[in-house]
């Protein structure tokens, strides 16, 4: 039988070269979450492409293999929520990668903390690994942006009662 992939994008534009923070997630066979940042030439879609490569495995595939007892062939329905953060100039361009990483760090730990929330009905594991410089972690603006993204993220992720 021919291998078939179903690819859907909620709206056009996700392949534009903008700065994004994104969340990759799965439910089956196990609930895994990966938080990242990118300003890929082909936008969030380009970054997703890198993550799901099987030959010379992408980071998400590697994380799945490291953390799961299942074979990678069992991995189904990898989904991505990408937040376009280009409206905030502080994240644009290679020179602002450290700020994007600070945002990625803050979001990673918010999502990780949320996994213990009482409203979470499907237990999930956060498999991303974040490393950042301390400089922007206490930045008020970046913290506010993170809180805004986090609120939206927990409504979009399928694990909790908050999910819409």
């Amino acid at each position: 039988m021919m291998k078939t992939y179903r690819i859907a994008v909620s709206q056009p534009g996700a392949s534009e070269r903008y700065p994004y923070v994104y969340i990759l997630y799965t439910v089956n066979p196990e609930a895994f979450v990966y938080v990242g940042e990118t300003e890929d030439l082909n936008g969030a879609i380009g970054r997703l492409a890198g993550h799901i490569k099987l030959n010379n495995p992408g980071t998400f595939i590697k994380k799945f293999m490291e953390n799961s007892n299942y074979d990678v062939s069992c991995l189904k329905d990898i989904r991505m929520i990408a937040f376009d953060i280009s409206e905030h100039e502080i994240f644009t361009g290679e020179i602002n990668k450290t700020r994007r990483r600070a945002l990625e760090y803050l979001l990673h730990f918010k999502i990780l903390g949320f996994s213990c929330d009482d409203s979470v009905k499907i237990p999930y594991t956060v498999v991303s690994h974040v490393q950042t410089q301390e400089r922007f972690i206490s930045d008020r603006k970046i913290n506010d942006i993170c809180n805004e993204i986090f609120k939206e993220a927990i409504q979009l992720l399928p694990y909790s009662e908050e999910c819409q």
Partner: protein, 552 residues
């Protein structure tokens, strides 16, 4: 196959010897018994250390832990004294875990454990005991119940309605410390171990009639601001909100992390308060690190969890709290005496990721405070001053020049610059925060400052010996300074070359801008771009070779 004939009775004395040698100290044994008082809802706990006679220097003979908790009936006393008390009796937030606490703690210090207790519904006080010699005689674990109260007991029970009294009698040789030493040690340990019960729930602990004051090693009630505003004089927290790190997402067990930075004692030297601050906040190497609590009770004090070195002096003011609850018990390896634990590897990775930036910031702030102190003192040269000393001697008289493109003649442009000096000073207005710092270095051409606006690595200015020379300011906070300059030896050729490069960049910018302001923005952009590119390059490429995301 389980062979029935192999079954035999436990060699009770060997088992009990193992239990009493679990490694309790006098203090940890008493803390374990106080745990039971708290679980029983006690609001007042009196610890009485009795010596052989009434002088302080005598060895202790008896320890009494007296609480006003809900008390126990005969069966409950039996259960408390029985080996491995029933798990069902422990509530979710219980401080007990294995049901060995009273026996192992008690027998680690004494040959006799006596329990006298009464609930609201009991008419009388009930007294039971376990005695080492009795177990030995019977060759099995026995609890001696329904004992008569003696005169000492009756004195202890005066005006008492409910509660429990635990008496450790016939202390073993290992626990025979001097009474005053025991009082001091037990008071200190109670202060730190139960401080949250004292602060939040109104628990009062007395040791030989003296009130124990709670001691929070993170001084949470003094937290004044976020670390972004740290000035070395107040307690600051690193994260706006505490972070939860998951131990097991299935049972929702989590650890809640809070990190603070305490005041920096050397900053108080001038006011003569350094010793006082040191003593109040206990700024000592042995106190650096993690304070781990289980159900609000401190179980591990000042451990590094192998995440950093205790010998790092720049972490002296850094303290981190980890809060666990009973749900975490199956995820962590906690010993019976509740003083040592091991976290799962996955949790440790997350903890490392979470705290690396905090640890780095703590070290940087310690350095910054050191420089601030030195600048306040106006006496000793900073480390960075000695780094640039040779450059400043060699570059003392260097000045911008004008090259005539037609003739190739080179002429000094100092006079031309001096004519525009007011204009230049206005353009390169100095940020208030660095004025004090550069005032003390007015004869230098290469001047380091704590930080430059907009994350710049360098900025030109006017100063020098006659206050009309071009000088360059270098930001010590920029990663290039931190990772490149600071790694070089004081005054080495590389420092001189780099200093000359930045001074020349500053002279070029000043030289052009004093004549024509249309290049002003371009030079500012050039500095900004180079500073940011260098910052990113050093942060991302030099620091985290093992970071795989985006490196596909």
């Amino acid at each position: 196959m389980i062979k029935e004939e192999r079954r035999k009775d436990l060699p009770i004395i060997r088992v009990m010897t193992g239990i009493r040698n679990m490694g309790y100290t006098l203090e940890s044994a008493i803390l374990d018994i106080v745990d039971n008082s708290i679980v029983a809802g006690a609001k007042k706990v009196n610890i009485i250390i009795q010596a052989e006679d009434k002088t302080l220097k005598q060895s202790i003979r008896r320890i009494i832990i007296d609480d006003d908790g809900k008390g126990m009936n005969t069966d409950q006393i039996y259960n408390a004294l029985e080996l491995g008390s029933s798990e069902s009796l422990y509530e979710n937030n219980s401080l007990s875990k294995y049901g060995f606490g009273l026996k192992s703690a008690g027998f680690s210090q004494a040959n006799t454990i006596i329990v006298i207790s009464k609930t609201e519904t009991c008419e009388n006080w009930h007294k039971s005991m376990v005695k080492w010699d009795l177990i030995k005689t019977h060759n099995r674990y026995v609890v001696d119940e329904e004992l008569e109260l003696d005169a000492n007991d009756i004195t202890l029970l005066e005006n008492k309605k409910t509660g429990t009294i635990v008496i450790l009698d016939e202390l073993t040789k290992v626990s025979k410390v001097k009474k005053d030493v025991a009082i001091k040690k037990i008071s200190e340990k109670c202060a730190i171990t139960f401080h949250r019960f004292m602060e939040d729930d109104g628990l009062e602990i007395k040791v030989n009639e003296k009130n124990v004051e709670p001691y929070d090693p993170l001084f949470c009630n003094e937290i004044a601001e976020n670390m972004i505003d740290y000035n070395g004089r107040k307690v600051c927290k690193y994260f706006d909100d505490d972070y939860s790190l998951v131990l097991n997402s299935k049972n929702k067990s989590k650890a809640i992390i809070r990190a603070v930075l305490l005041p920096n004692p050397p900053l108080f030297e001038k006011e003569g308060l350094q010793k006082k601050i040191n003593s109040k906040y206990q700024i000592k190497q042995k106190n650096i690190g993690f304070y781990i609590y289980r159900n609000k009770r401190l179980i591990v004090e000042a451990t590094t969890l192998s995440l950093f070195s205790r010998s790092e002096p720049r972490l002296l003011a850094s303290r981190i709290r980890i809060d666990l609850d009973s749900l975490c018990d199956d995820e962590i390896n906690l010993d019976v005496k509740k003083t040592s634990l091991v976290f799962p590897e996955r949790f440790m990775e997350q903890l490392r990721d979470l705290l690396n930036p905090y640890l780095k910031r703590s070290k940087d702030l310690w350095d910054e405070m050191k420089i601030r102190k030195v600048n306040n003192d106006q006496e000793i040269a900073t480390d960075s001053d000695s780094l640039h000393k040779r450059s400043n001697e060699m570059l003392k008289s260097i000045s911008p020049v004008v090259v005539d493109p037609q003739t190739g003649n080179i002429e000094p442009m100092q006079g031309y610059m001096e004519a525009h000096i007011d204009n230049l000073k206005e353009k390169y207005n100095i940020d208030d925060s660095i004025i004090d710092e550069i005032r003390k270095k007015n004869s230098q051409r290469v001047i380091t400052v704590s930080e430059l606006p907009k994350g710049m690595l360098w900025a030109p200015n006017i100063g020098g010996e006659n206050s009309s020379q071009v000088v360059v300011h270098l930001s010590r906070q920029h990663p290039f300074y931190e990772k490149v300059y600071k790694k070089l030896e004081d005054g080495c050729d590389a420092v001189v070359i780099l200093d000359a490069l930045f001074l020349n960049m500053a002279m070029a910018e000043m030289g052009i801008n004093c004549g024509d302001s249309k290049y002003e923005k371009i030079f500012a952009k050039l500095r900004q771009s180079v500073s940011h590119q260098l910052e990113n390059f050093i942060d991302l490429e030099m620091d985290d070779e093992d970071y795989d995301d985006e490196n596909l």
